[in-house]
């Protein structure tokens, strides 16, 4: 398969994480030829990121067995699966053509698979705060990628803040690598809802208990009901002011923020061809167990649509039911978690100081947004305000702009972000230099 042209694949799977691998294995088990593209240099995605050597990063915790299982299945069907790392999916155009780029060689490949499964993982929500644009402020997920990829903790001070279970996970991972964070600043009060947490599946509770134990032993404070009021540069690092039931100040080198998981739905739905699905956290944001199930469930849909198995197959029906049960259990769990970690974000947004930067790419502040009037149209926000017009194309600002103007969840809100190809920037060199096949990396898939 590695020497064939990429164009001869039946299904393109975008993303080499849990959902993508799960989908790919299922598709190949049914005899379909699969091309996986992964933008990073290693597989595993957010949850199960491998270090370069393909090793378990030792930080993947309770989910690591999922990967071992997927790798075992992959091995049995590896002849039908081609994997390209450092390869980015740039989107699908209106004619159904897909372009992937290899960022190492600056080349592109165009393909027209029969189906595409987009499994690009979740995005993080990070709410704008005063000073969040300063160097040293990153997402908790970015910090997690650094830890899992490089297997080293920074030697400098780290503070974690925001809301959500990921903060505890990353704090614990930092601690295990030898550099516990200064504190975890949690906006919600999850411990007050302890009784609700008891309804979560045992696996969740064990994971949480494990993290909290690690942090307790290392003496990392977890402060609840506290909000960041200001981030400033100070003495070569950052000074972070906290309010809530008291006023605190932390001096740190890095601040990792997290305000929840966002879907990552920037793909396009071309009219008709190819068959197009989203799988895993990019669509559901439910975590590893759900991603594996969803990847497989989506693969089954593709298998049926490509007529590789009869639509009424009993075996598939039974399997699909099992997978849907997993998904509903995970959805219920996420819903409980959302309750436990609930924060009144609208109030926080409505009280944001006007100097806060909203669009990081174009350096546009809240006052720039208010200057557009009380009810600007999407065009005015983009063209006159320059919001959502930079390189990230609104990924980090559009949601907040919609909440600020009370259009979140509306059609107008959705259209603040365009949906043309490319879904992320593409190098002109790569666009001009076409190759007829992606480079394959069999080595990647041996553990």
């Amino acid at each position: 398969m590695s020497s064939d042209s990429v164009d001869s694949c039946d299904v393109l799977v975008v993303g080499g994480g849990v959902a993508g691998m799960s989908a790919a294995c299922k598709l190949a088990e049914w005899g379909l030829r699969v091309q996986i593209v992964e933008q990073a240099p290693t597989l595993g995605g957010a949850v199960l990121r491998r270090a370069q050597k393909g090793q378990n990063s030792k930080l993947n915790g309770v989910h690591e067995p999922i990967w071992r299982d997927l790798m075992a299945r992959f091995d049995r069907v590896r002849k039908l699966i081609s994997v390209s790392i450092c390869t980015t999916y740039t989107g699908t155009d209106s004619t159904g053509e897909i372009v992937i780029t290899n960022t190492s060689t600056s080349t592109s490949v165009r393909l027209r698979p029969k189906a595409i499964i987009v499994a690009t993982g979740a995005s993080e929500r990070v709410r704008p705060r005063l000073g969040w644009h300063l160097p040293g402020v990153m997402t908790a997920g970015a910090l997690q990628v650094i830890l899992k990829t490089s297997l080293r903790a920074p030697k400098k001070r780290v503070l974690l803040a925001g809301s959500g279970p990921l903060l505890l996970a990353v704090a614990a991972q930092l601690t295990r690598l030898g550099n516990p964070p200064l504190a975890v600043i949690e906006e919600a009060r999850p411990f007050r809802k302890f009784w609700r947490a008891l309804s979560l599946p045992a696996g969740y509770l064990l994971e949480a208990a494990n993290y909290m134990m690690i942090l307790k032993v290392a003496g990392v404070p977890i402060l609840q009901g506290r909000f960041i009021s200001r981030i400033e540069q100070y003495a070569g690092g950052l000074r972070v002011s906290i309010t809530g039931e008291d006023q605190l100040c932390f001096e740190t080198d890095f601040l990792a923020l997290h305000d929840g998981i966002a879907k990552n739905s920037y793909g396009m739905r071309p009219g008709g061809m190819p068959i197009w699905y989203e799988a895993g956290d990019c669509a559901l944001g439910l975590g590893a167990r759900a991603s594996r199930a969803h990847g497989e469930a989506v693969a089954i849909e593709v298998i049926k649509q490509l007529r590789v198995c009869p639509v009424e197959s009993v075996e598939m029906k039974v399997r699909t039911k099992v997978l849907l049960d997993v998904l509903s259990r995970e959805m219920a769990a996420q819903s409980t978690l959302a309750e436990i970690y609930s924060v009144d974000e609208q109030s926080v947004l409505d009280e944001l100081p006007h100097e806060v930067i909203i669009c990081r790419c174009e350096n546009k502040s809240l006052s720039d947004l208010y200057d557009l009037g009380s009810d600007p149209t999407n065009r005015e926000i983009r063209l006159n305000g320059r919001f959502a017009m930079g390189a990230c194309q609104g990924r980090f600002c559009a949601h907040w702009i919609n909440m600020l103007r009370k259009k979140a969840g509306t059609a107008e809100g959705d259209r603040l972000i365009g949906s043309h190809w490319p879904i992320k920037p593409i190098s002109i060199q790569a666009l001009m230099h076409e190759s007829d096949h992606a480079s394959s990396t069999e080595r990647e898939c041996s553990d």
């Binding site: 155009d93 006159n384 043309h420 490319p422 001009m432």
Partner: protein
């Protein structure tokens, strides 16, 4: 029911210019749009204000007048101050057909006047010395043309007008009476002495018999280059673009590229002329062709990234001229539409001309654009 002197339907650049010109006369103006300012072609275009790119004849003549007028409006305290800039413009040829187009351009400019002049006519090696590609056979540099982004100008005209705005408000119908015209909007009725429909393709919703049809064009936005990187001083237009604007249907071998340097340091690269109206339509092979040709013309582009593409849809007219004038069988309903990509350049002229016609009863050169010309055609047939 609200009363105005003039209702303008359509908040694109032409509608905005009409609005401002009417407000200048002390009139009360209402502007209605189904979405908001620059929601159509005005917000999805490049910023070249160019006489050179206009077909010779009445269109080039009016564009010439409009360009001069833009410069006046851009003076201090004018509505276009800070929006319209005079910039050099470049025209390049990479093959024989394009060289022919540059010859024709030079001749056309001579007949127009001194506002726009060829200040340099460079052969290959001199063009290369300026940063152009080795396949550029010939380069014309013009002084006197300008640049104005459609949405910026639209917003500028509207803000300076003090008019009443009705956004997200569709027009359902227009009914003429003895002494006034009533515009029925979703939100209510507006009554005025006259109404101007500057509605681009939506004009067909109001007057379905007009020969307006869509022509889509894909555009590309790049990221910024390095600080202090040499950039173009003005837009570069390929000779094939000039050829594509003629009425003759020959396919041009080279893609009709325009490379427009923006103030942000980004480049806006266009475009095509596709026979459809889908603003959601992107075709990578078209984008790739435009990019390849653009890099051929100006190789420094090869280190940039495309961060976004979009599609603008122009309102085109079968005979290639805009439709400006009083609607046949009407007394108070005017139309200013079908500018097919020339709206930005012609907007200054159009706003003044339409108001002169409505309120001073003086039409002049606008007669050439009158919708009556279709009436005559159909009578003949």
């Amino acid at each position: 029911m609200q009363e105005f002197d003039l209702v303008v339907v359509g908040a694109g650049i032409v509608g905005a210019s009409v609005t401002w010109h009417a407000a200048q006369r002390g009139l009360r103006v209402a502007v209605v749009d189904g979405i908001g300012p620059a929601a159509g072609a005005s917000g999805a275009s490049d910023g070249a204000v160019s006489v050179a790119s206009k077909r010779e004849g009445i269109l080039a003549d009016v564009a010439y007048e409009s360009l001069g007028y833009c410069k006046e409006l851009a003076k201090r305290n004018g509505p276009l101050a800070g929006i319209f800039q005079v910039r050099p413009s470049y025209f390049v040829a990479t093959d024989e057909a394009e060289e022919g187009a540059l010859d024709a351009l030079a001749v056309k400019l001579q007949t127009l006047g001194n506002e726009v002049k060829v200040v340099a006519d460079l052969p290959n090696h001199k063009a290369v010395a300026l940063g152009f590609g080795s396949e550029v056979r010939r380069l014309l540099k013009l002084d006197g043309e300008g640049h104005m982004l459609g949405y910026g100008a639209t917003q500028a005209y509207l803000r300076a007008s003090g008019a009443a705005f009705f956004w997200r408000d569709a027009v359902i119908g227009i009914a003429e009476g003895v002494s006034s015209v009533t515009v029925q909007c979703r939100s209510g009725k507006l009554r005025a002495r006259a109404v101007v429909c500057a509605t681009g393709l939506q004009t067909l919703n109001l007057f379905e018999s007009l020969p307006i049809f869509p022509r889509a064009g894909q555009l590309i936005i790049t990221d910024q280059g390095r600080l202090n990187e040499r950039t173009l001083e003005g837009a570069v237009t390929a000779g094939s673009y000039l050829i594509s604007k003629q009425l003759v249907k020959n396919a041009t071998p080279a893609p009709p590229v325009v490379i427009d340097p923006l103030e942000t340091g980004q480049y806006l690269i266009g475009s095509t002329r596709e026979p459809h109206g889908r603003s959601d339509f992107t075709d990578v092979s078209v984008i790739r062709n435009l990019i390849r040709q653009a890099v051929k013309i100006y190789p420094a582009l090869k280190n940039r990234r495309v961060i976004r593409t979009f599609t603008g849809v122009r309102a085109a007219v079968a005979d290639g001229l805009p439709i400006v004038g009083l609607m046949p069988q009407h007394r108070r309903t005017w139309i200013a539409s079908g500018f097919e990509g020339d709206g930005i350049c012609l907007s200054a002229w159009a706003g003044r001309a339409v108001c002169d016609a409505i309120f001073d009863k003086s039409t002049g050169v606008m007669d050439a654009f009158s919708p009556n010309r279709f009436q005559e055609m159909s009578e003949v047939v």
